[in-house]
């Protein structure tokens, strides 16, 4: 609680969002007067979170390798419809074949090349846009702040998946539009977090003294403020990769992402609705999603413990599916 980095002076920001936060810790917090105390984020690995984080990292790296080496690993062409249809796993192929005679195993392998890079791209873009908007809003305040925050209010008025679905539908069904829709719903979380942190640091003595020395706003933001923001933003981002994967595959499941022949995990699960008794069509791609997401979440959780033990991450309604 006394950690300046986790204190949000504005009740609209940050963890437990809304005026709610003011009631809890923040309001009785003397920190706003005391000013921040910079300290190097100490790596504090819990007895359990570290091994779990390592396990997650291992699985995540494994999946990234699978994505990179897909052409080598996959025994079949993921799009070729040249196998007997609806063959059960073990009868010639590892994970069976789907209703069009495509190898499920190869499709799961190739699916890693679709979802993982797009999710990473999505998170990087959200962080960039959100951090820039949030930093500008928090640092300069006034109209910029007001406009930026009202926009985030609007985005956060919807449950994330619902808004992403609506936007993706309006843009037209394609994988790129799904990413764009996901981007539109994901950046505000970073904007709010960054804004809150910048707002807290802006009036602190060391930043003000920098300005009195004639530092430009850009230098204040980049040199003085940014280093104190990186930690919390990174934690949120690492926990968001799993969310991004779930969101993108969810949109594809709804038919608003990957187009039919593409081997994409969410749309593969959707294919299974037509063939309930051929369980392997949906179960394996779903397992792929689950293992990747859980891996990234373990890593994110361990990172949070290590960098920011006090913080509680919370995102807009239903960011994770």
């Amino acid at each position: 609680m006394t950690d300046a980095r986790t204190t949000r002076p504005d009740p609209r920001d940050g963890a437990p969002a809304g005026p709610r936060d003011g009631v809890g810790a923040g309001m009785l917090d003397p920190v706003s007067a005391a000013g921040p105390r910079w300290r190097r984020p100490r790596l504090r690995l819990g007895r359990w979170s570290a091994p779990l984080g390592l396990l997650g990292a291992a699985v995540g790296i494994l999946w990234i390798l699978v994505a990179l080496l897909a052409p080598v690993i996959a025994p079949h062409d993921p799009l070729a419809q040249d196998l007997p249809i609806l063959q059960a796993p073990g009868e010639g192929t590892l994970m069976g074949t789907d209703a069009l005679g495509r190898d499920v195993f190869s499709r799961v392998i190739w699916g890693a090349r679709v979802t993982i890079p797009l999710a990473l791209l999505l998170v990087v873009m959200s962080v960039l846009i959100g951090a820039i908007v949030g930093a500008v809003a928090g640092f300069f305040g006034r109209a910029v702040d007001e406009v930026a925050m009202r926009v985030t209010d609007l985005v956060m008025a919807f449950p994330t998946v619902i808004l992403a679905m609506v936007i993706a539908a309006a843009l037209g069904a394609s994988l790129l539009n799904a990413v764009l829709a996901a981007l539109i719903v994901s950046w505000p979380a970073y904007a709010r977090l960054t804004r809150g942190l910048v707002l807290g640091l802006r009036s602190s003595n060391y930043v003000v003294s920098g300005q009195l020395l004639g530092f430009s706003p850009l230098r204040s933001l980049g040199r003085d403020i940014a280093p104190n923001i990186v930690g919390p933003v990174l934690v949120l981002a690492s926990l968001d990769i799993g969310t991004a994967i779930l969101l993108l595959s969810g949109l594809s499941f709804l038919g608003l992402g990957a187009k039919p022949p593409t081997a994409e995990w969410g749309s593969m699960v959707s294919d299974a609705i037509q063939n309930f008794d051929a369980w392997w069509i949906g179960v394996f791609p779903g397992l792929a999603i689950l293992t990747v997401v859980i891996a990234f979440n373990f890593v994110g959780d361990a990172l949070r413990d290590a960098l920011d033990p006090k913080s509680q991450t919370i995102r807009g309604g239903g960011t994770t599916l």
């Binding site: 005026p19 003011g22 539908a169 999603i289 959780d301």
Partner: protein, 359 residues
């Protein structure tokens, strides 16, 4: 409190009329929510007008669209020649009259479709939110009390796993296992085919069946509810458990809790009268959020169980790119979510006098 509050908020509303503080607080929250509702309609309006491709060409066909006279007449008929602001107010006026357009998949007015589907979704959503709040609060409190012990770590892994499962996949797996393999769960839909719908009072089949005194219909409806509710609960429980744990941990550190424990009060009393009461505000917050993720969940889950709610409707509309249908669902869920959060905000004011007095 006063010093930090002043630093936090501008002392704007000082010395106004002396209305009851809770009323003033409530009024402000309601107005904010109304503004957001307008915002939500603005979002759906902009998105509807964003559709790539010319709506004129789409509606008239290529040949007619090449004739400027026909085009300008069409645009005049549908008000497309008006400025966007005027179009928005027309749209808003239509919304207020319950006109959400006509679905291109079902060819019914979207409002009628949604009205028919809403009770089915409310039934699973209410079931899931009640169940997951109870389980989440219990598990979260246990995890907090046993911080650092094995059970805390197990619960942490379990709730992380719950957050990582794609809900639509979980629904598929459970449906396959319990229906196709074990034949325990009933098939899809809200009732088995040999039952007739109970007389409509609330639209919730379980409640209606009980009201009509049809016990067997109630049991059948409840058994159909089981799997969808289970899937949605498993997801939200993960979110709730983690959050309740953090909230309870914070309270456990407070002096008044320590005093209560030192006094030798039974754990039960400490938990219910001191800890959970103190943690009620953050818990309420996360219940509001969980409701949002639950509404998202229904969109991804209902289609698997052929549950005839707004989720299945959204799935169908999305896969046919039925824009009026999708916008209708988005608007409805957006407004429902705002409503839940308004209720949550108002409850803060009831539960914690500092909230209503601070402003």
């Amino acid at each position: 409190m006063s010093t930090s509050t002043k630093a936090v908020r501008s002392p704007r509303s000082r010395g106004g009329r002396a209305a009851h503080p809770f009323l003033r607080y409530a009024l402000r929250r309601v107005l904010t929510s109304l503004l957001l509702v307008v915002g939500v309609t603005l979002v759906t309006f902009v998105l509807t007008n964003l559709v790539p491709g010319d709506p004129v060409a789409a509606a008239l066909g290529q040949r007619a669209a090449e004739d400027p006279a026909i085009v300008s007449q069409f645009r005049a008929t549908y008000g497309l020649d008006q400025p966007l602001v005027v179009q928005y107010f027309t749209y808003l006026g239509n919304l207020l009259q319950g006109d959400l357009g006509v679905s291109t998949t079902t060819h019914n007015p979207v409002v009628d479709d949604l009205a028919k589907a809403l009770p089915a979704t409310l039934e699973i959503a209410l079931g899931a939110i009640v169940l997951s709040v109870v389980i989440g609060v219990v598990l979260g409190t246990i995890a907090a009390y046993r911080r650092g012990k094995a059970s805390d770590h197990v619960l942490r892994v379990v709730s992380l796993a719950g957050l990582s499962v794609p809900t639509f996949w979980l629904a598929l797996v459970l449906y396959y296992v319990f229906y196709f393999q074990l034949h325990i769960a009933p098939g899809s839909g809200r009732l088995s085919s040999d039952f007739t719908t109970p007389p409509t009072v609330t639209g919730l089949y379980t409640v209606d069946a009980l009201l009509a005194g049809q016990l067997d219909t109630f049991l059948d409806a409840a058994s159909h509810l089981f799997l969808p509710v289970l899937v949605l609960t498993l997801y939200t429980v993960g979110l709730l458990t983690r959050f309740v744990r953090t909230a309870v941990l914070e309270i456990l550190d407070q002096d008044y809790v320590r005093a209560a424990r030192a006094k030798g009060l039974p754990t039960r009393t400490v938990v219910f009268s001191y800890v959970l009461r103190g943690a009620s505000i953050p818990i309420l917050t996360v219940v509001g959020l969980a409701f949002g993720s639950l509404l998202s969940g229904t969109v991804l889950v209902e289609a698997i169980f052929a549950w005839p709610g707004i989720g299945s409707y959204a799935y169908q509309a999305a896969s046919h790119l039925d824009l009026p249908g999708i916008m209708g669902v988005g608007l409805l869920i957006g407004v429902m979510y705002l409503l839940v959060n308004l209720i949550v905000d108002l409850l803060y004011g009831v539960l914690d006098p500092r909230v209503r007095l601070a402003s």
